[in-house]
């Protein structure tokens, strides 16, 4: 795998049953960037993210990632953890420590302190004993973001991580993600719903449509291309 890239997708084909979802996607994501993936509903954005994570059935092509040795942080599109589980918010966030702890190690003092700082960052520390079912939609989303960060991963793959947040919190979270990239050199791949907001987040965006990467450039370029396509 080329060291410059965090993720490389090569001629990726993904299908669920007979339904092709991704058709020949090739994509190189450099290390230390924030890459928003945008596109219309049903374009294949979530499937592309899942293929990168090894969660989608790849029919053809391949994905190269370092995830076997250093698992990524991940926020799924479905922000659901069955509320029947008698586990606290803190326990859910601690799930991200599994690659370090395995099934036997206890959580050490350093890790506890790190958990506290992550939960503090999202304003969740005071709610750490609540169960998932007792949290509001926004707090659930923040919990899953905190869990993604608790892995300490170099690469974060986030599927609409701000979809249930109010505008102010959304801005706050997005600027935190930008600072993770700028200050700590993390790679963040973010499926996002709004083209204009995505354009403000990163210099390059990835436009997915009909199961293919149609554009990988600045939003200006994308809008220009759209105008080109729209021209009779």
């Amino acid at each position: 795998m080329d060291e410059r890239f965090a993720i490389q997708c090569v001629n990726l084909h993904v299908a669920y049953g007979r339904q092709d979802v991704l058709c020949g996607v090739s994509l190189d994501i450099p290390r230390g960037v924030l890459l928003p993936i945008v596109g219309p509903n049903g374009a294949g954005k979530t499937t592309l993210l899942k293929a990168m994570l090894g969660l989608a059935p790849i029919r053809k092509g391949y994905v190269q990632t370092p995830f076997l040795f250093s698992p990524p942080g991940y926020v799924p599109q479905q922000k659901t953890i069955d509320p029947i589980h008698p586990v606290s918010l803190l326990r859910i966030v601690e799930m991200g420590l599994y690659p370090r702890l395995g099934w036997w190690k206890r959580i050490g003092r350093d890790e506890r302190a790190r958990m506290q700082s992550i939960l503090d960052r999202f304003g969740l520390w005071a709610h750490r004993h609540k169960t998932f079912g007792e949290l509001s939609g926004g707090m659930k989303q923040k919990t899953l973001l905190a869990r993604a960060l608790s892995t300490g991963a170099e690469v974060l793959l986030l599927d609409e991580p701000t979809s249930e947040l109010d505008e102010e919190t959304e801005q706050e979270i997005l600027s935190q993600l930008q600072s993770l990239v700028r200050e700590r050199g993390k790679t963040v791949v973010l499926v996002h719903h709004g083209l204009h907001q995505a354009a403000r987040l990163a210099p390059r965006i990835c436009w997915v449509e009909y199961g293919q990467v149609r554009w990988m450039d600045s939003a200006d370029g994308l809008q220009g291309a759209g105008r080109e396509r729209a021209r009779p």
């Binding site: 076997l68 029947i84 606290s88 599994y98 690659p99």
Partner: protein, 297 residues
């Protein structure tokens, strides 16, 4: 009190078997409730009975028949049905019907017929022998220990399969291991205590415990305590009123669950009115007594 002591003196094997089966099944039952797969418990119990019935006809030892069929069914259930057009529940239903009909048909060829099936399904803990207890200890203790040791990956796969897979947990392997452990426990326990009591232990004590606590460790401990209470209370009732033992234990387990219901309601009310139970109040919290939900920020 004297009655209980007499009971302990006369039926130590039944008490030990009941406590062990109760503890193991209540821990496993908590996990199958969290997995929303309670029906698996009764289906595997029924399959274990069918395996024993098969052993009557084929002449193989009952334990072998029961384990063989139960583990075979576990193999079917561990199949990933998430992408399948037939959900797991439907397959469970089919296995249940097949096992129930199969047990009846198989035993109809033996000399005892329907009476034998009745005794298998309802069982009688009081008749537990030393050999039964040895088998129970040999199988249930490792299953229980394994479940507790590997609770973290098991729980993670129950909580969030996708995230667990991303974190490097082999979710399919843990699923299979869990179901194999469950199958082993049910097959062995059903042979001694009957299918209905096993299912009672799998459901009533964990359900009562889940009502009372929001911490998994406490839930598991409470489930074990409730199963022990049900066993002792049921045996005591059976001894006092000359009732059949297993239904008495089942009744005790359900009564404990019913007794917990108002306690849980009180607890919820107390939690709802106690600021110390949740996050500390701040200036943006609604006033005390206000039930309005705090808006997302």
């Amino acid at each position: 009190m004297n009655g209980t002591m007499d009971l302990w003196g006369q039926f130590p094997l039944a008490i030990a078997a009941g406590l062990l089966v109760g503890a193991t099944c209540s821990v496993l039952g908590t996990l199958i409730i969290l997995k929303r797969a309670v029906f698996i418990g009764i289906v595997l119990s029924e399959v274990a009975i069918c395996g024993i019935a098969l052993s009557f006809v084929t002449g193989v030892p009952p334990l072998v028949g029961s384990l063989g069929l139960t583990l075979g069914s576990v193999g079917l259930l561990a199949w990933p049905y998430e992408q399948s057009r037939i959900p797991r529940d439907t397959v469970l239903g089919l296995i249940f019907v097949l096992a129930t009909a199969g047990a009846l048909l198989l035993v109809s060829h033996s000399g005892f017929g329907i009476q034998e099936i009745k005794s298998l399904v309802y069982g009688d803990l009081i008749l537990a022998q030393e050999a039964d207890l040895r088998v129970l200890i040999g199988v249930l203790v490792p299953v229980l220990a394994g479940t507790m040791i590997f609770l973290r990956p098991l729980l993670n796969t129950f909580l969030d399969r996708d995230m667990s897979q991303v974190l490097g947990i082999w979710v399919a392997l843990w699923d299979v291991l869990f179901f194999v452990g469950l199958g082993l426990a049910i097959a062995v326990a059903a042979r001694t205590t009957g299918a209905v009591l096993v299912f009672a232990y799998l459901t009533a004590p964990p359900a009562a415990a889940l009502l009372l606590s929001r911490r998994l460790g406490t839930v598991l401990a409470l489930a074990v305590v409730f199963s022990a209470l049900a066993t002792l209370w049921g045996l005591h009732l059976s001894f006092l009123y000359d009732w059949p033992t297993n239904p008495a234990i089942c009744l005790a387990a359900v009564l404990i669950f019913l007794a917990v219901l108002p306690l849980a309601a009180l607890q919820r009310r107390w939690r709802g009115s106690s600021p110390s139970a949740g996050a500390p109040m701040d200036e943006s919290d609604p006033p005390a007594g206000c039930r309005h939900r705090r808006p997302n920020r």
